[in-house]
Amino acid sequence: MGKVTGFMEFDRISEQNIPPQERLKNYKEFVLHLSDDEAKNQGARCMDCGIPFCMTGCPINNIIPDWNDLVYNQDWKNAIDVLHSTNNFPEFTGRLCPAPCEAACTLNINDDAVGIKSIEHAIIDKAWENNWVKPLIPTYKTNKKIAIVGSGPAGLAAAQQLARVGHAVTVYEKNDRIGGLLRYGIPDFKMEKTHIDRRVKQMEAEGVVFKINQNIGENVKHEELTNNYDAVILAGGAEHPRDLPVPGRELNGVMFAMDFLPLQNKVVAGDKLTHQILATGKHVVVIGGGDTGSDCVGTSNRHHATSVSQFELMPQPPVHENKELVWPNWPLKLRTSSSHEEGCERDWSVTTKSFVGENGQVKGIVAARVEWKDGKMVEVPNSEFTLQADLVLLAMGFVSPQQKMLDLFGVDKDQRGNVKATTEGKDAYITSKAKVFAAGDIRRGQSLIVWAIREGRQCARAVDEFLMGTSTLPR
């Protein structure tokens, strides 16, 4: 259980970052994982709670106290086994997860949470370094064929789980590379793409077949899937972005974040692009205060934008939440991302009224302040202001999955346009259409990677049960 009194002896140590001026020079990851000793001391802080709130704080129920203890005892090999028992891709979550586990950590009540994510990061990096991550090739074949649409975290998790119990899994990806949002939504400086490539290799060894440039409804007929496979999992994510229909929206330079970010990833991956949109020398305004917004900020800074501003419609959250009333839940509080540290003007309670431009090119943005009263937004009179803007990136979240493919399959949808399917009971994850399942953002709407992995795993079990009658796959 770590060390009984460890939490009183050691402080939380955050992972070291390469300083902004250095890291802005390239697109490499800049977060350095903990040293063995640091990880050991961080593990020692874990109290092995009678009720580990972290375990349920974590959507995939990572068995955090156990691997904390193993790291404290420097038993890294067993630590990765325990970690992998709940999480197919710790290298993704160890880098990208906002760590709701740490919000739920018991030490977070009146102290600093155990650095759970940093320990996870250290474990998986060590595991790859030591070549402990091996394909788990099934010893038997079921002769059941499964198609998975989408190769984001949900699709990948489902694919890996199902392959390991002997099913023949084919993953259809519409883009030119595997990974979905992980590949093109997350900048390389947050996660280098070799991590995905390694996993893909592992999964191929485990029997998963990956097909790229396969857009269902475009160049692949959906019947091809329903006819040729025993089960289909829709894991295409929720890619339909929220728009900002104000005057001037049509101007050049006003675009969705997802029209901007992937291009840089492709360049880093070695593609030669003719029309990459660069923020270089521009006044950039990012609209939306979430993670995608942050990624736009970080990328713009690496492009050497002249200035980067970020607007958020909601008011600035408090720096510290009232833990008494919030813990162990995910708190609403001011979060400053690494991208913000690299330089950015942030503003809250701002609504965008219009974009102004010259020659079809955006030049500025007209905004106003708002107040929130009883959950309703009221514009503050006479608070209009304008800001120079050469590039406006809309990062206000995603509304729903792309609808076209869903309509082709004919699955029922919920009010928000997501695929309708429950997560519990014997009909878990199955859609209104026979043998068609859905998992991840396509079912639940925009969410975290870790939720996508959870759904992928649980959906895999549901599919396995559907095909075999019973399943030993863990939920």
Binding site: V4, T5, F7, M8, M47, D48, C49, G50, I51, P52, F53, M55, T56, G57, N61, I63, D66, D81, V82, S85, A104, T106, L107, I109, N110, D111, R164, V165, E324, L325, W327, P328, N329, T472, L473, P474, R475
Partner: protein, 1542 residues
């Protein structure tokens, strides 16, 4: 049912659970001179022991009393003459007393049987005599079942050789009559019963009050009735049902105590059937079976067995020594012959174990013996004219002091014997020496014994059939078995500790497959007998086990002893097992072993055939039986062949099935039974295997598992065996059983969730109250475990299952406290959001998906129309029924402790101090707004709390637990309720320990101890070894605070209802029934999980039994144990509770997040820790707790409105409003049957179902009323008074009410010393000067009984013999047992010897005494004790503070002292002793001399004078007993003071 019937088993009430205890005594003329005076004196003793009995709802209804005397030849001869019968000479006729049915027809039938059998056995029926009786003054209930009482007179037959032969024949006749009448199956309220049938003795007894025996039987007043002995007994039963046959004396004994192992003893007797042969009884032996009739009391069973041994040819003392041997294995002082005697007989007969003072007689000898631990009082005296009087207390019969030549007591394991034919007293030493040297026992043992450990080592391996992981999985191992069970045992040599309560799903409700072990709950002693402290009193414990056949019990004249195979403890190594397999070679065929494989092929097994398990067990039984018949005398049940293709019958099931089958066939004692199993790994498993018949157990897989965990395998195995041994001690001792031999087969368990069919087939005799799964589901679970082990589950591919029993784990066992429920409760109470509370309550209450508790499967029956919410009693009234749990300041922080008190006082509920005293600063109500730190002290509070005017920090409930920490007159006076903690849900039957690092200066101050010195709470209250003792303590506490109600806390187990009835009769005002799942600051994890039952069962049993006994109205019943929501409260009320205790939930409200680290002092939220840094993190507020209780009450109101009930009182006991929730899909629960829980006793409407009246405590009779009156000037004006009065043994608890008056007025400081001087003459009753306050000096000229000066808190007590008493004071007893228990301050001087356990848990008082019994100064934490004479054994066990000075005249003290926690030092001269650090900051010589001088001054003791007169020499004979911990603390204190000074 009418008022007068003895109820049959119904609902949860089972007459088998009845317990009794009593007052016992005898008077005898050594020379055998008969007189009527002796009879009258016997009856006088009875009258004066009345207070040791009890009455039921009717004050005339006692529990029975009786007398045994020698055959009154004068009377019988005259009366026979009236019937025209000339009796033969005395000794050649017998006269028996017979209870006959009321119905004429039945009576005639019985009488015919009697005369026929007398004739058939070759004796002469002479006459029937109608025994005159006068029932005018007995209770109606007793009258209703009053038998027709006759005497049968039998003449000796022609073939009879001597009187012993005649007696044997009479015994056979009686047994035959009993069997024949039983076969008639009489349907009569009166039980046919033969109190006695003998040529030597006769018994008169019945459902009588102690002082009414001779009124009922005018014979006894008849001057023609003469006897040289009178043995009397007064019973205190836990029930109120009249039972004429249960009164004592029995034919040979009167027993005060309880035989804890009776189930095992009775089984073993039955098991001996086939192997028993007797030269003396010959063919008659067979006529005696069944020897022990079912449904009798433990005492009656014991009497049956004793009769058999005596009839079989053993002398009476010999037989007694076999049945109740003294502790011989751990006694360094015992001589070799005697040890050999006991050792030899150990193989013949397992001890009948339990607290016992047994007086016995065959009409020629009379004697008494005491159990090995001295747990019952028995004092005696002798006069110069040949009278011996023995009784539970002194003062019951007056003799002129000058005629008394010896006053002594029965010592643990010792015997007093009077041989009236020889005309002398034979003392223990002589009796036993004669018996011990009668035969060459040592030589016999040496020539016939094999020690398992002596055989050559073979380096055996377990030889797994599959991988370790798969094998572990196939036996249901989880990660927790490794982490929480094995690893701590390997590391520390003892079982792991845990904290907080058990909120996991009951095994029968769990969705995970469980091992069969988990369905059994350990039973434990509460009230009717004490648990033992197996650590501090290890000398009485033994794990020795014999493997193999038991010798013929009745081979009295044997000259060639049977071989024996012995091992020192029952956990076998792999080597041991190999040797057992090869035993025939190793012992030259003395033993022949056979391995019975309990695994079987899984191929083709079908679910609907219970996976073949039934058949396999049947085969196993046949095989075992055949093996025994074929001459195999060691059977080894082994599951080592378990593999993918072979599955084992659960070892426990196989063991019990085989054991019970062999018992039934009467062949069990022809063989040994050994279990070789991979399943056993924790203490509970071994306890169960032993309890159901295994003589030894080899846990082969545990060894293999440990090998994989460590490098030093030998050490790991050794520590594991040690841990299991310690654990077994704990499990045995919590039931008061001290030897494994008696525990083996004793079945000290009950089942929760197993059906009767399974139990009756394989575990017969075990209680199971709610039915549950059967063999089909057991097989299914076993199969599931097997399949998952060898299946393809990826989670189990590389790892064990997570478990989740001990800590919450995702994918582990379900728990009620989850992250969600805790968060919701905290958020709700902090924001006062009832809607959030309701979300929380739904998580707990709705168990349709996650089943965890029995109540989760209940639903409400809507019989009435729902009513509007506002018609229901307001919440502010309901919250008054709520209390918080007994959590001491020590287990939780000052902040948490006071917050609870403030909150409870705000709502009019009650908080509970727990065991640990209370700061007097908390007693006042605040007259203005303030803060906690201001009230308690700024340096004592780490997290301040705002207080309002009118707030009170006082805990209205003051707990009195076994440690008696901080229990003073002032503490008790500040209570509204005083709670006696008999047991605790988390660890019933066990004590506790507050480690030194938790004893802060503040805690030390409140507990009157030294900071940094650890504190031990003993497992038993040393003043409660029986129900009558409890009555005494209740009386004491009532005296200590007449306005407080007295509460007794019990834990739910089978029989708790009957105990509760006894507690109600003992005049408790209030009873708490705690569930097994209650919380703790620290407890061994097997106790957390495996002892006690859910409160739903215990509460229902209590309610039903109290109602049946018509006692419910007299008491308030409270329930606690994982009480969380309003629904819990309503279910508790419907099952019979008036009040409700909450502990964990209010802690969670205060910030507790179930870390389960209380025992480590690292609570990160400042709740359960003493660390100041962590206490700073405490954020609880009284308002939050108040919010919580109002939420609960509001939920209660909503339920009441839906049930159509306006008043809470109308809910209580309405179990008819409960039903079983249907439609829950769970394969294991369909067999559960709650009908016994929902049962309503069919009894008149007028009988109360809830608390409606108050107990009458009889304080108006107390001598203290006079003392208080006479002390008025002192109490009102602080003037000195002196008082002089006589006293007798019926004046109990003298001085306590007066002390209460002082404490109430003057607090702990009291009055100046000697303000009230009281001199009393005579024999004082029990608890003389209990809780005596500062300012009172009590001088008693005469003698004291038990519990003198218990809880002494400032007063002075002097007891000295009267001038007329001529014997030497240091050779005579002057006070009884457990004197000065829990004393805190004050001083005592006793000119004489004290009984056992002198100064137990003394924490600050000083005492001088001239000798003490066993266990002197046990658990002492402070104070000074001077012993001017011999001590008994085990002196200073568990002593962590204070100093004792012992005058070691014979130089043997070191052998009698328990050295584990103390060092023995010399008493240096004042000059020679280093200045620092010193006890009380004075040199030893000064302290010692001063105390002896005072002793001389107050008592005029010649002993003191002698010692002082020869001081230079006598000083060097003193030994100073210095606790090591205390010494360390003194040194540290000195060092820190020096540092400060520098």
């Amino acid at each position: 049912m009418t008022q007068f019937e003895r109820p049959e088993q119904q609902g949860l009430y089972n007459p088998k659970n009845e317990h009794d205890a009593c007052g016992v005594g005898f008077v005898a003329n050594i020379h055998g001179t008969k007189s009527h005076t002796i009879v009258a004196q016997g009856l006088q003793i009875l009258t004066n022991l009345t207070h040791r009995g009890a009455t039921g709802y009717d004050p005339k209804l006692g529990d029975g009393a009786g007398i045994l005397i020698q055959m009154p030849d004068g009377l019988i001869r005259d009366e026979a003459k009236k019937l025209s019968i000339d009796l033969p000479v005395s000794g050649q006729y017998a006269c028996g007393l017979i209870f006959l049915p009321q119905s004429n027809t039945y009576r005639t039938q019985c009488e015919k049987i009697i005369t026929d059998i007398i004739h058939e056995e070759g004796q002469t029926f002479l006459a029937w005599r109608d025994v005159p009786t006068n029932n005018s003054n007995i209770a109606e209930a007793a009258k209703a079942v009053e038998p027709k009482i006759k005497q049968v007179i039998v003449g000796q037959g022609k073939d009879i050789q001597d009187q012993n032969h005649f007696e044997r024949k009479l015994f056979v006749i009686r047994k035959r009559i009993e069997h024949s009448v039983k076969k008639l199956g009489l349907d009569d309220p009166v039980q046919f019963y033969i109190p006695s049938l003998s040529s030597r003795t006769i018994v008169y007894k019945g459902m009588l009050l102690a002082n009414e025996v001779d009124t009922y039987y005018p014979d006894l007043k008849d001057a023609r009735v003469t006897s040289a002995l009178a043995l009397v007994h007064q019973r205190f039963s836990t029930n109120t049902f009249p039972a004429w046959d249960l009164a004592h004396p029995f034919r040979m004994i009167a027993h005060n105590g309880e035989i804890n192992t009776v189930q095992g003893n009775v089984n073993w007797m039955r098991a001996r059937h086939e192997s028993m042969q007797s030269a003396l009884l010959g063919d008659d032996l067979e006529k005696l079976w069944p020897l022990i009739v079912e449904g009798q009391s433990d005492s009656a069973c014991f009497d049956n067995c004793l009769e058999l041994l005596v009839a079989g040819g053993y002398s009476l003392p010999h037989a007694m020594m076999m049945l109740i041997p003294e502790a011989w294995s751990g006694n360094p002082m015992m001589d070799e012959d005697r040890r050999a005697f006991y050792e030899y007989h150990a193989a013949l007969m397992e001890p009948w174990d339990g607290p016992a003072a047994v007086a016995f007689t065959d009409g020629r000898m009379i004697g008494a013996t005491l159990d090995r631990n001295g747990l019952r009082p028995a004092r005696y005296l002798m006069t110069d004219d040949g009278l011996v009087m023995m009784a539970s207390e002194m003062g019951v019969l007056q003799f002129p002091e000058e005629k008394i030549i010896k006053k002594w007591r029965l010592q643990p394991g010792k015997m007093l014997l009077i041989d009236m034919e020889k005309g002398r007293i034979i003392d223990d030493e002589e009796v036993k020496k004669e018996l011990a040297t009668h035969k060459p026992y040592r030589q016999w043992i040496d020539s016939s014994r094999y020690f398992l450990g002596d055989f050559p080592k073979t380096n055996s391996k377990a030889e797994l059939k599959e991988t370790l992981l798969d094998t572990q999985q196939s036996f249901g191992y989880t990660q927790e078995d490794i982490k929480f069970i094995l690893a701590p045992m390997i590391a520390n040599g003892e079982e792991n500790a845990g904290s907080m309560g058990n909120d996991a799903a009951l095994p029968v409700l769990s969705k995970k497959p469980k091992l069969i072990y988990n369905y059994f709950k350990q039973l434990f002693a509460q009230v009717t007998n004490p648990p033992i402290d197996p650590i501090r009193e290890e000398l009485v414990m033994s794990l020795v086990t014999f493997i193999g056949p038991k010798p013929n019990l009745l081979a009295v004249e044997e000259t060639k002893p049977t071989t024996r195979l012995e091992t020192s403890q029952p956990v076998l190594t792999l080597d041991d097992l190999t040797q057992l397999k090869n035993i025939s070679k190793l012992t030259k065929d003395a033993y022949k072993s056979l391995v019975l494989d309990i695994t079987y092929d899984v191929k083709g097994l079908k679910k609907d055939d219970a996976y073949g398990m039934k058949k396999v067990i049947d085969t196993l039984r046949q095989d075992a039986l055949k093996a025994v018949k074929d001459g195999y005398n060691i059977l080894i049940l082994s599951d080592r062949n378990q593999s993918k293709n072979r599955m084992a019958i659960p070892a426990l099931l196989a063991t019990s099935a085989t054991h019970q089958h062999l018992v039934r066939e009467g062949l069990r004692t022809n063989t040994g039974l050994v279990v070789d199993t991979g399943s056993a790994r924790e203490v509970h498993h071994f306890a169960l295997l032993g309890g159901y018949g295994a003589e030894a157990i080899c846990p082969w897989l545990a060894y293999e598992s440990m090998n994989a965990m460590t490098t030093d395998h030998a050490l790991a195995h050794k520590n594991f065996i040690k841990s299991i041994g310690k654990g077994l001690y704990k499990v045995m001792s919590k039931m008061g059983i001290s030897t494994y031999q008696s525990y083996c087969g004793a079945q000290i368990f009950e089942a929760v969730g197993l059906n009767s069919q399974l139990i009756n087939t394989y575990f017969k005799g075990t209680v199971t109250n709610i039915e549950g799964i059967g063999i089909e589901e057991i097989a299914e679970e076993t199969m599931r475990i097997h399949q998952s082990a060898f299946g393809s589950d990826p989670v189990l591919a590389n790892a064990l299952d997570a478990g989740g029993e001990y800590a919450f784990r995702v994918r582990g066992e379900e728990h009620m406290w989850t992250p969600d429920s805790i968060a919701k409760l905290q958020h709700a109470t902090r924001t006062n959001q009832y809607t959030t509370y309701k979300e929380y309550a739904a998580l707990i209450n709705n168990q349709t998906k996650r089943q965890m508790t029995l109540r989760g499967l209940f639903k409400f029956k809507t019989i009435n129309q729902a009513i509007a919410l506002d018609e229901v009693e307001p919440a502010k009234e309901i919250v008054k029924r709520f209390v918080t749990g007994a959590m001491s300041l020590g287990s939780i922080s000052t902040e948490a402790h006071t917050t609870l008190a403030i909150a409870m006082n705000r709502i009019g509920g009650k908080s509970n101090t727990g065991e640990g005293g209370e700061d007097a600063k908390r007693f006042l109500t605040l007259d203005k707004d303030n803060t906690l730190a201001n009230v308690i002290g700024l340096h004592l509070i780490e997290s301040d709390i705002k207080l309002k005017k009118g707030d009170s920090l006082r805990s209205r409930i003051k707990q009195v637990a076994s440690g008696r920490f901080g229990v003073t007159a002032e503490y008790l006076s500040s209570a509204d309720q005083i709670q006696i903690k008999m047991a605790q849900g988390a660890k019933p039957g066990e004590g506790g320990q507050l480690p030194g690092h938790k004893v802060s200066p503040y805690i030390a101050k409140l507990r009157f101890s030294v900071p940094g010195v650890g504190l031990i709470s003993p497992p038993p209250h040393h003043d409660i070894y029986s129900i009558e003792d409890l009555a005494q303590l209740i009386h004491d506490l009532k005296n200590a605070n007449p306005s407080a109600s007295i509460s007794v806390k019990l834990v739910s187990e089978t029989g708790v209802g009957t105990v509760a009835a006894g507690v109600a009769k003992a005049k408790s005002d209030h009873i708490v029934i705690a569930g097994h799942d209650g919380g703790t600051g620290a407890s061994p994890i097997s106790s957390l999980k495996h002892a006690g039952t859910p409160w739903e069962i215990g509460l229902a049993e209590t309610q039903q039994t109290l109602v049946l006994n018509r006692l419910r109205g007299r008491v308030i019943v409270q329930v606690d144990g994982q009480m969380k929501t309003g629904r819990d409260v309503v279910i508790g009320a419907l099952l019979g509770a008036d009040e409700f205790g909450f502990a964990t939930a209010p802690l969670v409200v205060q910030g507790c997040i179930m870390m389960r680290k209380c025992h480590l002092n690292t609570c990160p939220v400042g709740v359960a820790t003493q660390d100041p840094a962590l206490r700073k993190r405490f954020t609880g507020q009284p308002e939050h707790v108040v919010n919580y209780f109002f939420f609960v009450a509001e939920e209660v109101r909503e339920l009441m409105s839906s049930l159509g009930i306006r008043k809470f009182n109308d809910l209580i006991g309405r179990a008819d409003l409960l039903d079983t929730q249907e439609g829950i899909l769970h394969w294991k629960i369909h067999g559960l049957d709650f009908s016994k829980i929902f049962f309503l006793p069919n009894i008149e409407k007028e009988v109360s179902r809830r608390n409606t009246e108050v107990q009458s405590h009889g304080l108006e009779h107390a001598l203290d009323n006079a003392l208080i009156k006479l002390s008025k000037p002192a109490l009102e004006k602080r003037e000195k008074v002196s008082i002089n009065l006589p006293i007798t043994n019926t004046n109990r608890t003298v001085g306590t009410m007066l002390s209460h008056e002082i404490a109430k007025r003057f607090g702990h400081e009291g009055l100046p010393q000697d303000t009230i001087q009281i001199t009393l003459n005579g024999s004082a009753g029990q608890s003389f000067a209990a809780f005596l306050a500062q300012g009172i000096s009590m001088e008693l000229i005469g003698e004291g009984n038990d519990y003198v000066a218990k809880g002494l808190c400032g007063g002075r007590v002097v007891i000295k013999p009267p001038k007329a008493f001529k014997a030497k004071s240091h050779e005579n007893i002057i006070v009884g047992n457990t004197v000065m228990y829990g004393a805190t301050t004050g001083e005592s001087y006793f000119s004489g010897v004290a009984g056992e356990r002198f100064c137990v848990r003394n924490s600050g008082a000083s005492a001088v005494v001239e000798g003490v019994g066993n266990h002197g100064c046990e658990y002492m934490t402070g104070g000074t004790v001077v012993v001017l004479g011999n001590t008994g054994q085990n002196f200073a066990a568990g002593m962590s503070g204070g100093v004792a000075y012992v005058y070691d005249e014979d130089g043997l003290f070191a052998k009698r002292c328990n050295p584990s926690m103390v060092s023995l030092e010399k008493v240096e001269t004042q000059q020679a002793q280093p200045k620092v650090p010193q006890h009380l900051n004075q040199p030893d010589e000064v302290i010692l001399k001063m105390l002896i001088e005072k002793h001389m001054k107050y008592t005029e003791s010649p002993r003191a004078k002698f010692i002082l007169d020869n001081w230079d020499k006598t000083r060097t004979q003193f030994i100073k007993v210095m606790p090591n911990e205390y010494k360390r603390a003194l040194n540290e204190l000195h060092a820190s003071l020096t540092k400060e000074a520098a």
